[in-house]
């Protein structure tokens, strides 16, 4: 590649990534050369500024024609922008959370490392959302994964944190191997790593033996990616890792890493297989024919997540299962293709709502577990007395997670359920499982509320809410309620700026 081609690319499309990369490098240099007594906590604000700038730049890039650079390996289409908005916004909230994070044994020595590793992980997630090629997808995936492994073990002197990191690495290795093996099939069949070319080739394949190999690739990539979104059958790492990892990292894994996982599912599994023929006649597309497998995984995931959550006493483990269940709900939307016409809107809205409600909930969890010195849910007993505001906002988040009307979570669930019954043929079983397991989820979400409102106070003293956390809480609470009452704000935003995401499939 000569200089001329290099310069001819529209690098502006990558500006948000460059900003994040630059900030990460700057942070690592600062961390390296700053004097020991320099309080690295304030580096969070620098990181936040970087994310903020990237967000603004991204908004500026919105509404352009699709830009594709570096031989179609990186593309900025409406899908990429929409998902990166969620990723950046969520990361901004997490970094503010992390600023206030104070584990019992302290973490001053590694606080600096935390921020740039965090930005590296975010960079990986953003690259995943924007990839047009298996290679870039994989690089993004690994950048996200490896940074996350280290982040999970950030509390070096804490045994559980070490265990979490170790388990995460081992399981992550397995999942990566499976994904990569699946990708190798696709490459072997099509002779290209470029998704656009691959898709164009697959459309014309009517040989059932080839289609069988498509199937192998599909399932291997799918199972590998279920690791990232923590759904069945690769969900079992989640409780152990969520419990051991520092709380901001847990929040990151449950929201941002999961969103990136869904972005990748869209890029590979939906993008390639939605048009590929599923039989020798071409009467069905591959995805139509094999929807039932996705539906099956979604059903199992919802059942496992919700039922196992019932028995948890540790709040972070409970939320691990809750986040497994939530991944199941989103998978329902993926499996039913969001009711056909709303392939992206439904999932995007749910993930956005999930950012608000889950990050909000984790902020309260971080604060309360630190102050109560226990991660048992009894630490929430009498929270209403200790801090009425904290109890009130956590209730909003829990109600939203449970899907009670008036919250963004309800609208998200309603969209998914309506989508799954209006699509032809309707997925009634899946919709019933979703409703049934939602009822089960009331038990544990309301269990926490019972603790907060109806139990005598555990642990002494009022809880002082740090300024950063209170900003996160206010933003999340407003978002949860606003999009619950006026969801059209979000949908209008999508329609105005992204149309119907038609450029996702543009060949």
């Amino acid at each position: 590649m000569d200089m001329e081609t290099m310069l001819s690319y529209d690098w502006g499309a990558m500006a948000p990534e460059f900003i994040i990369l630059g900030t990460a490098i700057l942070l690592s240099i600062l961390d390296l050369f700053a004097p020991k007594q320099f309080n690295r906590r304030s580096l969070a604000w620098l990181g936040l500024t970087g994310i903020f700038l990237a967000f603004i730049t991204l908004l500026g890039l919105m509404g352009q024609e699709t830009v594709s650079i570096l031989h179609d390996t990186f593309k900025l289409d409406s899908f990429a922008v929409a998902f990166k908005l969620i990723l950046l916004f969520g990361s901004a909230l997490v970094i503010v959370m992390a600023h206030s994070y104070e584990p019992p044994e302290g973490m001053n020595e590694y606080r600096g490392e935390f921020y740039y590793l965090f930005l590296a992980a975010l960079l990986g997630a953003m690259v995943m959302a924007s990839s047009g090629d298996l290679i870039t997808l994989f690089v993004g995936l690994e950048l996200l994964s490896i940074s996350s492994y280290i982040l999970a073990g950030m509390r070096k002197k804490n045994l559980q944190s070490n265990e979490a990191a170790m388990k995460y690495v081992v399981n992550g290795g397995i999942s990566t191997a499976i994904t990569l093996f699946g990708m190798s099939y696709l490459y072997g069949l099509s002779g290209t790593t470029n998704l656009k070319e691959m898709s164009a080739w697959m459309v014309g394949v009517f040989d059932s033996q080839f289609q069988y190999l498509f199937g192998l690739a599909f399932f291997m990539i799918l199972v590998g990616l279920t690791f990232k979104i923590a759904s069945a059958p690769f969900h079992m790492w989640a409780p152990d890792v969520y419990q051991g990892a520092p709380t901001p990292v847990t929040a990151f894994l449950s929201v941002i890493s999961k969103t990136a996982g869904f972005a990748m599912i869209y890029r590979i599994l939906i993008g390639l297989f939605i048009t590929a023929p599923g039989d020798s006649m071409g009467a069905f597309t591959f995805l139509e024919k094999n929807q039932v497998y996705l539906a099956f995984l979604a059903g199992i995931t919802m059942i496992i997540g919700n039922i196992l959550a019932l028995r948890q006493r540790n709040i972070k483990r409970l939320f691990a299962y809750s986040s497994i269940a939530q991944a199941g709900y989103v998978l329902v939307a993926v499996a039913t293709l969001g009711g056909g016409t709303f392939l992206f809107d439904t999932v995007w809205f749910y993930l956005m709502a999930y950012v608000f409600m889950n990050l909000g909930a984790f902020s309260v969890i971080q604060l309360v577990t630190e102050k109560s010195d226990t991660e048992d849910i009894s630490g929430f007993a009498g929270l209403y007395k200790r801090s009425p505001w904290l109890a009130a906002v956590l209730s909003i988040f829990l109600l939203s997670l449970a899907g009670i009307p008036g919250t963004a979570g309800f609208i998200g669930k309603l969209n998914i359920i309506l989508g799954s019954v209006t699509v032809e043929p309707g997925h009634y079983v899946l919709a019933s499982i979703m409703m049934g397991t939602t009822v089960i989820s009331y038990f544990y979400y309301f269990g926490i509320m019972t603790q907060m409102f109806f139990r005598p106070v555990q642990g002494a003293g009022n809880i002082k809410i740090p300024a950063g956390i209170s900003v996160v809480l206010i933003v999340c609470a407003i978002g949860t309620i606003l999009f619950g009452i006026m969801p059209s704000l979000a949908f209008d935003f999508l329609h105005v700026n992204f149309g119907d995401f038609a450029d996702f499939f543009a060949l």
Partner: protein, 623 residues
């Protein structure tokens, strides 16, 4: 006036927000005044709206709320006859309960919180009864449930209250799932949540008969949960752990009537399916007698009233299931007044004697000169004594059941009316006549803030029946169906003997109660003495009681015991079986989660293998 009806629920919402934010800084009395002021504003507005609706046609305003593709969901308000009437009932009773609570809850440190919750509940309930579509109704339906949860659990330091709150929430949620599924099925069929569009589709025959029946039944399941119908009724008696004003507001007059309201609002859907109507009628009729028979043996004053509420709601369902639209709503209205009165009067008694056990009460007639007569008015009304409101509305229901051809249910309802008269007067005699059985010396009449709302309700418990009588005119019934193309008002003469029969059974019930409980009350006071001769003399007296017991009461007692066993073991057993299964699944699952990371990988591999094998075998890729 109707254009501004949307303000009505906003007043209590303002009260809720105000008290939530500034309540802790207010004095006790101030927060009560805030709550009363806002609900009174709601009430005045509702009265204006009701009068406006009497003269002008149905008002409906809507705005787009959410558009997904070409599906347009709307939000707005609708003031039809039913909604206008419900607005008035809900806001009036809410206001009276606000006022009553000022006296009843006096001295409670969390009074502002209490008033805030009351405001929240009132907001949700008022929003519910003016919704123009199912989705909006569902929205408020859930908020009402949340308000009820908070209020039942208000005494959260009591274990029973905590349990009752959770039970109420989850039991009604089970019903809500039915409603949600029914709603979504209708949406799938009609493409809209709007009542009007659904009814038009039903009329036009755009929906198959099976789907109509199915959705009607699913929606009725939602109503069963909220209105405490068999088999989802068990939460309602437990909900009596909440403060008594809450029981009067939520568990007598408003929220539990929401199920009846839902069936009434969806009535054209139900009338389109004879099966669905029959299910509503049978459930209602069975619940009416089932709960009434349990009411015969309860000893807690509020529980007796709770079972009677369940039973009366069963009556309303029976009326609706017998195509007696006006009869059901008429009874909803009269019941709201006299049952709220009974609960408030019961609260006044509890306030005075500090117990809920009727065995420990007695002789309060002389000491509570206002509460006593008011309680009697409520008792006469619910027993169906002529000239009181309950008489007229119950009569309408019996006529509806008879005319619809539900003769079996008609007789059940008549027996239930007998039971009702009996246990209500048992309650009255044990509480107010005879001598005090407990040495609570300092019994005083309640303060004016408590008696005044009761007096208002007492007046209404008498006169509200005259809104719809066969003697002076069926104003309410005519008005309710006026201009409604989906409802035809059946204007046929009722057989006169039904009214006589109803009067006869209630008189029989009252007399029986008088013989048993008035006498036993006397005997008990003598038994309390140490003198053994008197004791032996009394033993014979008691023997008469025993005869009654063995002849009349024993049978019903056995039936009610049998029914409560069914309730406890079969219904409860089913519930336990479901939760048990879920829990043991959880146990198995947790055992798998043993922390061994090898296992996690294995499970993932197994999952992959299973998927690929099934794919390969079912896909016919080989051979």
């Amino acid at each position: 006036m109707m254009e501004s009806a949307w303000l009505i629920p906003l007043f209590p919402l303002a009260s809720f927000l105000f008290l939530l934010l500034f309540g802790s800084r207010l004095k006790e009395a101030a927060s009560a005044w805030v709550g009363m002021f806002f609900t009174f504003a709601s009430f005045v507005w509702s009265v204006f709206v009701l009068f406006d609706r009497l003269q002008s046609p149905t008002y409906k305003a809507e705005a787009g709320w959410l558009a997904i593709g070409d599906v347009q969901l709307t939000a707005g308000i609708e003031i039809n006859q039913l909604n206008a009437l419900m607005l008035m009932i809900v806001s009036l009773i809410s206001f009276l309960v606000h006022m009553y609570s000022k006296g009843y809850m006096h001295g409670d440190a969390r009074l502002p919180v209490f008033y805030a919750y009351l405001g929240f509940f009132t907001f949700a309930m008022l929003g519910l009864v003016m919704a123009p579509n199912l989705l909006q109704l569902y929205f408020f339906w859930e908020l009402v449930g949340l308000g009820s949860f908070l209020l039942i659990g208000f005494y959260f330091y009591k274990d029973e209250a905590k349990r009752a709150a959770k039970k109420a929430f989850i039991m009604t949620r089970i019903g809500d799932v039915g409603l949600l599924v029914g709603m979504i099925l209708l949406f799938w069929q009609v493409g809209s949540f709007e009542y009007d569009e659904i009814f038009q589709a039903v009329q036009a025959g755009a929906i198959s008969a099976e789907i109509i029946t199915l959705t009607a039944i699913l929606i009725f399941i939602g109503a069963i949960g909220k209105s405490g119908q068999f088999p989802l009724h068990t939460w309602l008696p437990d909900a009596m752990e909440g403060p008594t004003p809450v029981s009067a507001l939520i568990h007598a007059a408003t929220m539990v009537a929401a199920g009846v309201y839902l069936v009434a609002a969806m009535f054209p859907l139900f009338t389109a399916s004879e099966t669905a109507l029959t299910i509503v009628a049978v459930t209602g009729g069975f619940t009416a007698i089932f709960a009434a028979s349990i009411g015969l043996v309860q000893k807690d004053i509020k529980r007796v009233l709770a079972y009677s509420t369940v039973s009366q709601l069963g009556y309303m369902m029976l009326a609706l299931g017998s195509a007696g639209y006006a009869a059901g709503i008429f009874h909803l209205m009269t019941h709201a007044f006299f049952k709220a009165l009974l609960f408030l009067a019961a609260g006044s008694v509890i306030h005075a004697v500090h117990t809920q056990d009727i065995e420990e009460m007695g002789g309060l007639w002389k000491k509570m000169k206002i509460t006593g007569p008011l309680f009697l008015i409520g008792t006469l009304a619910i027993s169906g004594v002529p000239l009181f409101s309950g008489f007229f509305s119950k009569d309408e229901i019996l006529v509806a059941a008879w005319q619809h051809g539900n003769q079996g249910l008609f007789w059940l309802a008549l027996i239930a009316a007998f039971f009702t008269a009996f246990y209500m007067f048992r309650l009255f005699f044990m509480v107010f006549t005879g001598d005090s059985r407990k040495t609570e010396t300092n019994v005083r009449e309640s303060p004016a803030t408590m008696t005044l709302p009761m007096i208002v309700l007492g007046v209404l418990a008498i006169i509200s029946g005259y809104a719809n009588t066969h003697w002076f005119g069926t104003f309410l019934g005519d008005w309710l169906v006026e201009g409604n193309e989906y409802l035809a008002h059946v204007h046929s003469e009722a057989p006169g003997w039904i009214m006589l029969a109803a009067t006869a059974v209630s008189a029989a019930g009252i007399l029986l109660a008088y013989f048993i409980y008035s006498k036993r009350a006397i005997s008990r006071s003598w038994m309390g003495g140490e003198n053994s001769t008197v004791y032996i003399a009394l033993y014979n007296k008691y023997f008469i009681d025993e005869t009654y017991q063995f002849s009349f009461v024993a049978l019903t007692r056995w039936i009610s015991l049998f029914l409560s066993y069914i309730d406890r073991f079969i219904v409860g057993g089913l519930v336990n079986a479901v939760t048990g299964t879920v829990q043991s699944l959880g146990r198995v699952g947790s055992r798998l989660q043993n922390g061994q990371t090898q296992l996690y990988g294995t499970i993932a591999f197994l999952g992959l293998a299973v998927l690929v094998v099934i794919f390969a075998l079912t896909g016919r890729y080989f051979g």
